[in-house]
Subunit: 126 residues, 2 copies
């Protein structure tokens, strides 16, 4: 089956939806990790939330145009749609600290989030 997921075209990406997607600290942190460490599978993301909740967040990110999801076998590779977002809303990813460190008081990601800062080859046993 062509289980190709739906992604909005670049021109269809709406600022409303993108801002809403990025107003959640977990989702913003997912985007930040994607930028910092490249593509990942969903399972490599490590947050203190249920699997179904993470799946929901990834769906919000995908449908808003922030992330791209590629089905590969049983896993899914998610990537930040940096070029599309940069073309559509220049400077936005930088301003919301997805592609730039915070350097102020505010933490970059979710306060309670625990992302796995492991390189993509160091995760066989968990």
């Amino acid at each position: 089956m062509r289980s190709q997921l739906h992604h909005p075209d670049r021109r269809e990406i709406s600022l409303d939806k993108v801002l809403h997607a990025l107003s959640d600290p977990i989702r913003r942190d997912i985007a930040r990790v994607m930028h910092a460490e490249g593509s990942r599978t969903c399972g490599q993301l490590d947050y203190p939330i249920a699997k179904s909740t993470l799946s929901h967040h990834l769906k919000v990110l995908r449908e808003s145009g922030v992330m791209h999801t590629e089905v590969r076998g049983t896993t899914r590779i998610i990537t930040l749609r940096r070029d599309d977002l940069e073309a559509r809303f220049p400077g936005l990813l930088d301003a919301v600290r997805v592609t730039r460190p915070a350097a102020d008081g505010e933490p970059v990601g979710a306060e309670g989030a625990r992302r796995g800062p492991c390189p993509p080859a160091a995760r066989s046993a968990r």
Copy 2:
């Protein structure tokens, strides 16, 4: 009475709240009009929403740190906290098209919003 409203300190302005505040098209448009035309009173804003709804939006904008409200007599002067936002999240106002025109397919403000592009001295009868 010192009916001075509470505004968050610059360092207290949270990206979560700012992004949430700006994810609403009406609120984003209010911020845009404030930047384009300077300070206004609430009554000079002209949207197809109830007074109480507008008041709610202004409260969200104020409590998130996007706007400043100054009580002057029976009216309130609202202004964009541009310097604070620029210091805290450089480039954000520009990226979300508050301080820059859109130039793309997407309209700048709310689709159904009807802001009054009138100069501050041309509104006596409505």
